[in-house]
Subunit: 199 residues, 2 copies
């Protein structure tokens, strides 16, 4: 397999997805974006479903790398930087059009086992990331020792998911939840002497 | 307009939606479920999009009535009963098939202004309900006076949305978030002497 060409196809799939949404995505759109032929896409990835699963795998790798690369000396810094990466629009964040398409993909997941598996993996990765940060924070005494890392991580992961759903479906900017989330963390996760704002 | 027949059509639309999902829903399915003709549906509701908006309006009314009918003498009781109604599966709760279809509808909202307006109304209703409960709880001294009702209501509404998205897309039971949410409320919303579990 020519790796460069296979990567070009995935990149084209990503761009076509942002442009057309998931329901209307065709291999013809992908071929046009990747400047290749439908035959070449079939050769490298098989059918549309398989191509899409390959894209999700590639996006999961990128998301994992992006989160792993987040700076932060302390658990508090890491928590806040991760929330910022997930909830604040900046040049590094995936574009709104992509999150719109991803909600379509999520709505499709009940009907497609391969898609659901990938979404579950991503969700579990995020959950585990938050739990590890909170566990470290509790162990180091920066977070309140009464916090249950699994419960808090479940709460945060669910709220982040909800923020993305509301952003796409209801046109609600996730920034407001970001501010609320920081306050939640300051008030309820951090130990009293580690919080920087008044309760 | 024969009100009974118009209502039968909406009921049939609801059942057809649960059975076929939103993307695959046809007026033929609705006609079969409502035991009527496509012509009669057109006469009462116009096109599929208009029928669907009428269904959303009717569902919003039912949801509003259901939440308004929630028992609870104190703000704490009302908060917990509302969370239970939204996050715990029981005979009164809408079936899973309906929530699956509603995620498809939400994913469609960016492309359909009339749908988005209805979803926004429902979201605002829930948000206002939570805010009113929390405001009353703070005013009566049952909730911690440092709680900001708008922020807490935004957080809860977003987490409930996220729980529904994860339930449908990732097959995650919302019960676990329900338990986490109760704990969050006990620990962080209620005044110290009103909480019934240890922090």
């Amino acid at each position: 397999m020519e790796d460069g060409h296979a990567t070009d196809i995935l990149d084209g799939t990503y761009r076509a997805l942002c442009q057309h949404g998931y329901a209307d995505l065709t291999l013809r759109d992908v071929a046009a974006e990747a400047d290749t032929s439908k035959a070449s896409i079939h050769y490298h990835y098989g059918c549309k479903d398989q191509l899409f699963v390959a894209l999700l795998d590639s996006l999961a790798d990128q998301c994992t790398e992006r989160v792993a690369a987040i700076d932060g000396e302390t658990p508090r810094d890491r928590l806040f930087a991760t929330l910022e990466a997930l909830l604040v629009d900046d040049d590094d964040a995936p574009p709104r059009a992509f999150r719109t398409a991803m909600l379509e993909v999520t709505a499709q997941a009940p009907y497609d086992e391969a898609i659901r598996e990938r979404l579950v993996d991503l969700d579990e990765f995020l959950f585990a990331e938050f739990r590890a940060i909170i566990e470290a924070g509790v162990a180091e005494g920066q977070f309140d020792e009464r916090v249950d890392p699994s419960r808090a991580a479940e709460f945060i992961t669910t709220a982040v998911t909800g923020a993305h759903t509301r952003e796409v479906g209801l046109d609600r900017a996730p920034d407001r939840l970001h501010a609320t989330m920081l306050r939640y963390a300051e008030r309820h996760l951090l130990a009293a002497d580690a919080a920087e704002v008044a309760p």
